[in-house]
């Protein structure tokens, strides 16, 4: 059967196929977590949302929403967001070529950033859903389109980056529809709103980070990050940029590229938006390779197969790593022990990315949360983790009133010298299970 016939058959049932793929990739992580007796939610950002102060909801409506969802059903929320997003995208880009719609959504759904964002309680998942719902309603020809405001307004209350991207997108849409007044109005409102958010609400530029940032692993998921883009998607995107850069209708996409790249370099949490854009170019590159007449048709088939195998490889490799991600069942058990056995207020020291689990499970204060950007605490954290002598360590622990040290396998690998110092008589092993330990500092 010719390659084209294959794809035509697939395109006839594209909605069904995309939903099936989405179900498979999005349900696999919670199922794996369930089978491994792990908490159903992973990722520091999930637990940040569960323990954030209600006043922070002004910069993150998701905090408000999660308060109303029972804890044991929270893992369903991002999956609902995912299907809502997919259906909105299917509705919005139906005017594009069917193969473009299909491959864009397919590559997006199997991308590590999409899987991670839509299996954790992530602000960007809710933002994207709200924004796309607003666009779907805006596309209505009747007076229903004015109800888009109901979605755009809450979508504007996330971080500055997402608000900026939303406003730029709307301005471009109005420009393409030749509604110049709306373009100016969007620009003016946008400028005012962004300034007000920055000055009055102290909205962060980009959320997080909720983990210790490392650019390459966070950017390219194949290098070990729990987020990011597949390396093969990046290669396809480069091909896509080369083939599309002269196409007039796509100039607008290049406007977003420097913004999201710079945002990702500043804070790798923004890699989700970079994924959306990179997937676009990757799809263009893939379509070009599919449509091109190759001299050797067998070579073409083999290359296309390789591309799909490569994309699948990244997805499977990523999903394979999820069972190892925090919080593990041993970590949860240890933290629950603290909750049950330590009834006084205390500060607990651990790796910054694990601090959110401490807040949630122990209801106690961790020493440092990365998203707070507290330079003093960040510096103290680094000094504690790398302390080689008790004369360096003890003053830091005393000054910061740290009473407990929570040690995970990851921390064990990163803080060898600290572990050596725990043999001192002022430390007592309070609890230990599998490779997780809780040390008390007297």
């Amino acid at each position: 059967m010719k390659l084209e016939n294959y794809f035509n058959k697939i395109l006839e049932h594209k909605k069904l196929l995309l939903i099936a793929v989405a179900l498979a990739v999005l349900l696999t992580p919670p199922i794996i977590n369930y089978l491994n007796n792990k908490p159903m939610l992973i990722g520091g950002e999930s637990y940040y949302h569960l323990t954030a102060e209600p006043r922070e909801a002004i910069n993150n409506p998701l905090i408000f929403l999660v308060k109303y969802v029972p804890d044991n059903l929270l893992f369903i929320l991002p999956i609902i967001f995912a299907f809502g997003t997919i259906l909105c995208l299917l509705s919005l880009i139906k005017s594009a070529k069917p193969e473009f719609t299909f491959f864009y959504l397919l590559i997006l759904i199997i991308s590590p950033a999409f899987i991670y964002t839509f299996t954790t309680i992530s602000a960007y998942s809710f933002f994207l859903l709200l924004f796309l719902l607003g666009l779907v309603v805006l596309n209505r020809n009747s007076s229903w389109k004015y109800f888009c405001v109901l979605f755009f307004v809450p979508a504007a209350f996330f971080d500055l980056l997402s608000t900026f991207l939303m406003l730029i997108s709307l301005a471009i849409i109005f420009y393409l529809r030749k509604k110049d007044k709306m373009v100016w109005l969007t620009g003016a409102i946008g400028l005012f709103f962004l300034t007000a958010k920055q000055l009055l609400l102290k909205t962060p530029l980009v959320y997080g980070p909720f983990h210790a940032q490392q650019f390459f692993p966070d950017f390219i998921a194949d290098f070990g990050g729990l987020n990011g883009i597949s390396f093969f998607v990046v290669i396809l995107a480069l091909i896509g940029i080369l083939v599309t850069w002269k196409q007039e209708g796509l100039y607008w996409s290049y406007l977003f590229l420097p913004v999201v790249i710079i945002a990702t370099i500043y804070n790798t949490q923004a890699v989700f938006f970079l994924t959306l854009l990179t997937t676009f170019f990757a799809t263009a590159g893939l379509i070009k390779l599919l449509e091109r007449q190759w001299t050797l048709s067998s070579l073409k088939k083999f290359t296309i197969l390789l591309i799909f195998l490569s994309l699948l490889f990244s997805t499977i490799s990523f999903i394979n790593r999820l069972p190892l991600s925090s919080p593990t069942s041993a970590e949860q058990k240890s933290l629950v022990w603290i909750y049950n056995n330590v009834d006084y207020e205390t500060v607990i020291f651990t790796l910054p990315e694990d601090s959110y689990y401490i807040s949630y499970f122990t209801k106690k204060e961790p020493f440092y949360k990365p998203h707070t950007h507290d330079e003093h605490k960040e510096e103290a954290t680094t000094k504690i983790l790398t302390a080689a002598y008790i004369s360096e360590l003890f003053p830091l622990l005393e000054e910061n009133e740290i009473k407990f040290i929570f040690i995970t396998p990851k921390m064990r690998a990163e803080a060898e010298s600290l572990l050596f110092l725990l043999k001192n008589e002022r430390f007592k092993l309070a609890y230990s299970t599998k490779e997780v330990e809780i040390w008390m500092f007297k």
Binding site: Q214, F216, P217, I220, D222, F223, G224, F231, F232, I235, I239, L289, W294, T295, L296, L299, K300, F302, T303, L306, I307, L309, S310, F313, S317, R321, A413, K423, E425
Partner: protein
């Protein structure tokens, strides 16, 4: 090809092979790095699979390797003793480069004589005269240039299949195949800049190659990528020895290594090709040279490998220089010199190639027989689960001849504490304190110390400074000394 050319080419191949084999068998043993590869081949012959879980190296570690070279050599191990096959086959493979370089040069210049000179230079390139090196490069280089030859001929369908097959084999042989891909990228860029049309067939093969290479490497090195991230491509080499891999060679040393005449000829040809002729085939070769330079500059490729590749490309470019020189001389009043041109050229090449090549061969860093005997003695006279301490480069001798655990060798990938290990290894050669020495020996569970003449020369010492009769017993005393560790440090218990 004319018969005469065929005979001459065969003569060059034979001369190269004979010279290499003579040197290979005169010089005893193999280079230090070769023993790791020998172990891999032995393991395949015995077990059918490469050694992925090595209980001896670093006291136990996981290896992630591309194994085609080892399977290739294991095939010959079925018919010949391994150490014999390991001397003959790699030298045969490198000698076959003369044929491949002749074909490439012929494709570019369509001149038999010029191509014969290229083959001669490639055959006696000093850098390639490590005749006792049982290394992956001995297969990689011929495959690489065969692949390049196939790429130059892709208008003929059969060469497309040759290209695909050689490329697949390259991906399974060494990750240095990235030279090709980077070279292709630079080649496309050069074509674009020069406003030349990019051939569809070439583009399609390049796209296929790119995705196949990335996919195959991701598959083999998935765990390495996940564990070490992007830094895995720097192979986890300890910072203190990275200068050995990327030495500051002087320009003079580099020119001698690739031979003076090809170097000068190469500069002339590159200038002419880039700025005057704009020959597309030369662009391809120049692109590969640029890619190896970039890879070496970013420390992704060892300097000596980059220089080797450069030297071979210069050998090919020499054919163009020869053609241009002949044309030039014919036009001048010195046309009568042509009668002596070949004799003069061969004489100059003989001096500038042969002497450095033989010199390189004779100066190979190989263990002497007495050192090997000491490691063999260890196998027969020590318990099986013993740990042995020696120089870093002798680590593979411990695992191959002695079949015992070593502290460290030059396979650094996936070793977590490589910097600390290297520091501990060096400290044992320098320390005067027995306690410190015993602490390190206990840490790595070492029962025997080996001090070879090589170690003595390298570390500028006669013996270990921390030795005492109470804790160290000399059990082997030839030129190589072996000590048994009798003491260990006990941890004091604290209340």
């Amino acid at each position: 090809m004319e018969k005469k050319t065929g005979y001459l080419l065969f003569t060059i191949l034979l001369l190269t092979l004979v010279a290499r084999l003579v040197l290979a068998f005169i010089i005893p043993n193999f280079t230090y790095d070769s023993y790791y590869n020998l172990r891999q081949v032995e393991h395949i012959t015995k077990e059918g699979i490469p050694l992925y879980q090595d209980e001896l190296s670093y006291g136990g570690r996981t290896l992630r390797i591309l194994s085609f070279f080892y399977y290739f050599m294991a095939f010959f191990d079925l018919f010949l003793p391994l150490e014999l096959a390991a001397k003959i086959i790699p030298n045969l493979l490198i000698a076959s480069l003369t044929l491949i370089i002749f074909l490439i040069s012929k494709k570019i210049t369509n001149d038999d004589t010029a191509s014969l000179y290229s083959a001669l230079i490639a055959g006696f390139l000093p850098l390639l005269f490590s005749t006792n090196a049982f290394m992956i490069e001995t297969l990689f280089l011929p495959l690489l240039f065969l692949n390049i030859y196939a790429f130059l001929n892709i208008n003929d369908k059969k060469y497309v299949y040759i290209y695909i097959i050689t490329f697949l084999l390259l991906c399974l042989t060494s990750s240095a195949t990235i030279i090709l891909l980077m070279g292709f990228g630079i080649y496309l860029l050069l074509l674009k800049v020069e406003g030349k049309k990019i051939c569809r067939d070439e583009l399609e093969l390049i796209i296929f190659s790119l995705f196949f290479f990335l996919w195959s490497q991701s598959l083999f090195f998935k765990n390495l990528l996940l564990q070490e991230g992007i830094s895995f491509i720097w192979q986890n080499v300890p910072s203190n020895i990275i200068m050995q891999y990327f030495p500051k060679m002087t320009l003079v040393q580099a020119i001698i290594a690739v031979s003076v005449i090809p170097f000068l000829a190469g500069i002339y040809v590159v200038y002419r090709s880039l700025f005057q002729l704009k020959n597309q085939k030369i662009f391809l070769l120049i692109s590969f040279v640029i890619s190896t330079t970039l890879l070496t500059w970013s420390r992704l490729m060892e300097f000596k490998h980059s220089l080797t590749f450069f030297g071979i490309v210069l050998a090919i470019l020499f054919a163009l220089f020869y053609q241009d020189s002949l044309k030039f001389i014919k036009k001048t009043k010195l046309a009568w010199l042509l009668n002596f041109f070949h004799i003069g050229l061969i004489a100059i090449l003989a001096v500038t190639l042969l002497i450095p090549a033989v010199n390189t061969g004779l100066q190979q860093n190989v263990p002497v027989d007495k050192e090997v005997d000491a490691f063999r003695w260890l196998r027969q006279n020590t318990p099986e689960n013993s740990g042995v301490f020696a120089l870093l480069e002798e680590g593979h001798l411990i695992t191959y001849y002695s079949q015992r655990r070593n502290v460290m060798d030059n396979q650094f990938a996936l070793i977590e504490d490589v910097e600390k290990r290297f520091s501990d290894l060096n400290s044992l050669f320098r320390t005067n304190f027995q306690t410190q020495a015993l602490s390190v020996l206990d840490k790595y569970n070492i029962q025997y110390l080996v001090l070879t003449p090589q170690a003595q020369r390298k570390q500028q010492m006669e013996q270990f400074n921390f030795l005492s009769e109470d804790c160290f017993e000399q059990i082997y005393s030839q030129e190589t000394k072996i000590y048994k560790v009798k003491c260990n440090l006990l941890e004091t218990e604290t209340e």
